[in-house]
């Protein structure tokens, strides 16, 4: 049972990515070998230009590698066409972005519903699944609010609910706390930790060690190759940290 739960979900074999900028070749990735198992909570760290975003795009099936193999949930992704990739993204990947990327003119419900609209399979209990996802990020009662009326933290929670709604194999978060203050960011990390404890596979791209220390494993990326991996000892608990953190309002009134 446990063994089954630790199945490999992401496996990359020597993947490279070469961009062309005019006449210049940019080697964004130079042979990345990576294995992530089901239920893991992983952080990918690296300075800018390290190839983090490129790796994320490939893992998220937004892009395909120039060479090498990538399989997601035992499906070889490397050679799929645009439409097949779109289908995989819809079914297998939940995205959370630094800039939230919500449809500002739609309300919370409409935003969370979005991946379901593009689902090729018939979804039963659609409404209940949407409401459940919204509830799991604590936004019940905000359903009718337009996303442009929400604060940053609330927007990111909507984005997480949207990432959850199709029950994908992996949740991919690109600097999810980058545009948030530390208290709000900690709240988002608490949600990720809760989801991971429920068995979700989560991959976070970040350049903040503080954030990375909330995960189980940190993968260091530099110049397009993996530079090292590290199991996180003494994982930070966002819940605990939130309790210790003085409320932002208290700080403001104190000064």
């Amino acid at each position: 049972m446990i063994k089954n739960n630790k199945d490999t979900i992401i496996k990359t074999a020597d993947i490279t990515k070469v961009y062309r900028l005019g006449n210049i070749k940019v080697n964004a990735l130079r042979g990345v070998n990576l294995e992530i198992r089901r239920g893991e909570f992983v952080a990918v760290m690296g300075p800018s230009g390290s190839g983090k975003s490129t790796l994320m795009n490939i893992i998220g099936c937004l892009d395909t590698p120039t060479s090498g193999q990538y399989s997601l949930d035992n499906v070889d992704i490397s050679k799929l066409n645009d439409n097949q990739l779109a289908g995989i993204r819809n079914k297998e990947v939940g995205f959370v972005f630094q800039t939230f990327n919500l449809l500002s003119r739609s309300n919370v419900y409409g935003n969370v519903e979005l991946p379901m609209i593009y689902s090729t399979e018939r979804i039963k209990n659609k409404k209940k699944k949407i409401l459940d996802a919204i509830e799991s990020v604590g936004l019940t009662g905000w359903i009718k609010h337009r996303s442009s009326e929400l604060s940053g933290g609330e927007k990111q929670r909507v984005a997480i609910a949207r990432a959850l709604v199709n029950q994908p194999s992996i949740i991919l978060a690109d600097e999810p706390t980058g545009n948030l203050d530390s208290v709000t960011g900690e709240g988002i990390m608490a949600i990720f930790q809760k989801l991971n404890s429920q068995g979700k596979t989560i991959i976070i791209v970040t350049h903040e060690l503080d954030i990375a220390r909330h995960t189980h494993k940190i993968i260091y990326l530099r110049d397009g190759i993996i530079h090292g991996q590290e199991e996180v000892k003494n994982q930070v608990s966002a819940e605990e940290k939130l309790k210790q953190m003085p409320k932002l309002e208290d700080k403001l009134t104190a000064n």
Binding site: A86, F95, F97, L103, R105, P115, Y118
Partner: protein, 410 residues
């Protein structure tokens, strides 16, 4: 199907969010479709008016005119060389009366213009001189009094039957029956009035006419031996061509025109006149509607322009949708539906616009309009095609966007 409904919903939402822009974009289509439909309805209306008033003249009518239709400049030639113009006389009339078997009635007509006056008022009127048979052949109806009789014609009496415009101008509210009017200075006794008929196919007021016996017109008013034309009525509508041919051969024989020689008279009937008028109005309508459809084209380009702007503006939205699993086709359909919704909604408003314009025109002007299903169907399908045609390029641009670049777009 469900996906299509979803797309239509998304399209309406985004059009609604940009109300002013959507309306202005639609305006091009509204004006284009409106103009085309309104022009077609005016054309159809004109056609029906003309057909109606030609048929009003009597549906079995055959018109015999002097002169040859193929010598267009014969009038000029006559003036220059003093050639005698061919005339239609009482002998022609008698010949037709005697020999024709396919006609019921035949009547001579002289049409001229004279000043009619009563007490101190006067009016320019059209004198239509004929025999007692003119009433039926011309399809005129007596309102009050009576039409002149056969004996009135043979006795060359100074009697007149007058139309509604004449009554209004000369008599006002007084009863004209039995009164004496002057036509070019001669006294005529009013013995009857004609029912109102309105304008004829050529826009002439038929109610400003005064009808008098043809003999009186010839001998006392204009000093003529001939007639302007002879009217005949065939026994039925389907015999009209045969009756025309019969009259032709009678007149050829009587006027000693040998085989192969051209006739010095013309025989026309209703069907021929109708054909000519229908063709003329049809060409006219097509030309006007063609000009109007240029504005439809301009409206289509407006849609394309706005859709291109919209695609650029919503690059990020497209990126988000693609990241969430939207396929190229989904994005294509979304934007295509949007441009079709724009143009079809514009088309519907345009039709409403045209319908009200036509209603106003036929109520407040002399133009008769007629909205039929055909131009509406054409306009609607045309605006759909415009939406498709001018929407496909922007939609393809949207569909082809790379999700990574689109998500990064600021």
């Amino acid at each position: 199907m469900k996906r299509l409904l979803e797309n239509i919903k998304i399209a309406f939402q985004s059009l609604f969010l940009n109300k002013l822009r959507s309306f202005l974009t639609m305006l091009g289509i509204i004006i284009g479709v409106g103009a085309v439909v309104a022009m077609l309805s005016i054309g159809t209306g004109a056609q029906q008016t003309v057909l109606g008033s030609i048929q009003d003249m009597g549906s079995n009518l055959i018109i015999i005119l002097p002169g040859n239709p193929e010598e267009e400049n014969h009038m000029g030639a006559q003036l220059a060389f003093g050639i005698q113009q061919s005339e239609l006389t009482i002998d022609d009339l008698r010949a037709i009366e005697r020999e024709a078997t396919l006609i019921t009635e035949v009547a001579p007509v002289i049409i001229s213009s004279s000043v009619a006056s009563y007490s101190n008022k006067s009016i320019q009127s059209t004198v239509v001189a004929s025999t007692e048979k003119g009433l039926e052949i011309y399809n005129m109806k007596i309102e009050k009094g009576k039409f002149y009789s056969r004996s009135d014609v043979s006795n060359v009496l100074n009697v007149a039957v007058i139309g509604q415009t004449v009554i209004k101008n000369l008599f006002g509210k007084t009863d004209p029956i039995g009164k004496i009017i002057k036509l070019d200075g001669k006294n005529f006794k009013v013995m009857g009035t004609l029912e109102a008929r309105g304008s004829d196919a050529f826009g002439n007021d038929q109610d400003s006419s005064i009808s008098i016996p043809v003999t009186t017109a010839q001998n006392k008013l204009y000093g003529l031996d001939s007639y302007n034309m002879i009217l005949a009525q065939s026994i039925s509508e389907k015999d009209i061509d045969a009756a025309s041919e019969e009259i032709k051969s009678i007149l050829r024989k009587y006027r000693n025109i040998r085989f192969g020689e051209k006739e010095d008279f013309m025989v026309q009937n209703q069907t021929q006149i109708l054909d000519v008028m229908t063709t003329i109005i049809g060409i006219f309508t097509v030309v006007i509607a063609g000009i109007a459809s240029i504005s439809l084209l301009v409206g289509g380009i407006g849609i394309m322009n706005i859709m291109l702007v919209s695609v650029t503006e919503r690059t990020r939205e497209i990126g988000i949708r693609k990241a969430m699993g939207a396929k190229n086709r989904d994005i294509l359909v979304q934007f295509l539906v949007e441009s079709i919704v724009l143009s079809v909604t514009g088309g519907i408003f345009g039709i409403l616009f045209a319908v009200s314009v036509s209603a106003i025109l036929s109520r407040f002007t002399v133009l008769e309009t007629s909205i039929t299903l055909l131009p509406i169907t054409i306009a609607l399908s045309f605006s759909t095609v415009i939406g498709l045609f001018f929407g496909i390029y922007p939609a393809m641009r949207a569909a082809r966007l790379n999700p990574i670049d689109a998500l990064r777009y600021e």
